[in-house]
Amino acid sequence: MTRHIVATVDEIAPGTCKIVTVKGREIGVFHINNEFFALINRCPHQGAQLCRGALLSRLESPGPGEYSLTRQGEMLRCPWHCWEFDVRTGQSWCDPDSVHARTFAVEVEPGEKLAKGPFEAETVPVSVEQNYVVITV
């Protein structure tokens, strides 16, 4: 497991995703409500580029005809078959115990600290003034 600097925090606007390639894997890094999350860019169902899907809320219901919406923007819906995944855990809505997308630990670190290493910067140049998104793969 190694830590990889994949973006500056300013680079990923709220509600969007940056797709990076780390150790040959495509990973989507999401910025949602001032938090960052990272998921493999691959749907466990049929291999779609999962992170190109839409961010939706968690849609649930206490009973027929009743609709509730929680955790706005924290569910990722696959661009193909509309399977929904929790960006925090990677768990699918329908089969949370058996179907999930792999997630990666994400931290925001100041450039000052990162300058000491160890990390792998991929293509992101580090300066001490910036904050960075770091994922562990």
Binding site: G63, E84, C94
Partner: protein, 358 residues
């Protein structure tokens, strides 16, 4: 053919036997004064009001050796005794009446006729043999009157379920039907959904077919639509104790039905967010099917595969579907059924489904 015999130690529960109203005149004593006069004055008593979904002379609808010299198959107690009660020695028989009363456009006329049929069932059948049980016939397109009839009959515990046709005016999950389900759940009555259509709509989205053969075969996809409606509308969320019995639906279509509705659910479930479990699981918990006709494959080894795919040994209920012609002699168990599930299918599953049999 691997013939399976009902073990002598088990007294089966036959969950689908058809009674026929011999003619509408037979109902006159069971109508109140107003409706008796109304029906005579309009000449309605001169017609049997048979459903076009079940032409009684079609070979499928009466086994040759069960066909009476005269009158409608299933219209005489003595025949039921000779053809079902004696040979199968059932513990209980659940009698279902399919009749035009259920589909008359006038809700009031429909309700009056249904009420008369239920009276007729009680007096002419249930009183004659303690093993007989029956479904309550209701005007399902008129939920208010249907509920009134269910409540009127509920004290007589020989009525063990409410009978509806698979295809009527609206898909059965639609909220307009919910008062019926509420009453049924409250009174420990499963909803029996029998093959058949009131033909308010063509048998399928393709339109009107030419032959009865097509209509009969298309009952199975019709039941697929019924299950999809019950599940997606949330009937089982709203009525968690409700049991539904598909009667004369066929069985072997169910696995492919599971696979497809489950797949759709994984993508579309947020349209109906109350469907919070995989549909096959909901169906396994709430839905039962009678075993005749089974629509078994030519290779009987596949029957075990079908049962494994259905994935529950609690869903199938023994039935003869008397007097319909699905088997010969007393070979009412579909060939290929594994013997280890026999006792459950023959009796235990029915006892678990029909609270009023206990």
């Amino acid at each position: 053919m691997c013939k399976i015999v009902i073990p002598a130690s088990v007294r089966p529960i036959d969950c689908d036997v058809h009674l026929a109203v011999p003619n509408t005149r037979a109902l006159l004593p069971y109508l109140d004064d107003y409706w008796r006069e109304h029906i005579i004055r309009r000449g309605i008593d001169g017609d049997n009001l048979e459903l076009s979904a079940y032409p009684p002379n079609a070979p499928l609808n009466c086994r040759p050796d069960w066909r009476p010299q005269q009158g409608l198959p299933g219209s005489q107690f003595e025949q039921l005794r000779d053809h079902v009660l004696e040979p199968f020695q059932p513990r209980f028989v659940i009698c279902n009446v399919l009749h035009g009363s259920q589909i008359m456009f006038s809700e009031d006329l429909s309700a009056a006729l249904c009420r008369a049929i239920n009276n007729w069932i009680a007096a002419e059948w249930l009183d004659r043999d303690p093993r007989l049980r029956a479904s309550i016939v209701v005007p399902a397109h008129s939920p208010e009157l249907a509920v009134a009839e269910i409540e009127r009959r509920a004290d007589d515990r020989r009525f063990v379920q409410v009978l509806m046709l698979a295809m009527t005016e609206m898909p059965l999950g639609r909220r307009q039907h919910w008062p019926i389900y509420q009453a049924a759940e409250h009174l420990d009555l499963p909803i029996g959904i029998h093959a058949g259509s009131s033909f308010r709509h063509p048998p399928s989205a393709l339109g009107w077919s030419s032959y009865y053969l097509e209509d009969y075969v298309s009952q199975a996809p019709g039941f697929s639509g019924v299950l999809n409606s019950l599940v997606t509308e949330g009937v089982f969320n709203k009525f968690p104790r409700l049991k539904v019995v598909l009667i004369e639906s066929g069985v072997s279509w169910l696995p492919a039905h599971f696979w497809r509705i489950n797949k759709t659910w994984r993508g579309v479930r947020s349209e109906t967010p109350w469907v919070d479990r995989v549909p096959s699981e909901i169906i396994r918990e709430h839905v039962r099917l009678t075993v005749q006709p089974f629509d078994d494959p030519p290779d009987k080894a596949l029957v075990q595969t079908i049962l494994d795919e259905i994935g529950s040994d609690e869903m199938l209920l023994f039935s003869t579907d008397y007097p319909h012609w699905h088997f010969e002699g007393t070979d009412a168990i579909p060939p290929g059924l594994p013997s280890d599930v026999l006792t459950k299918i023959l009796a235990d599953n029915a006892l678990a489904t029909y609270a009023r049999l206990n």
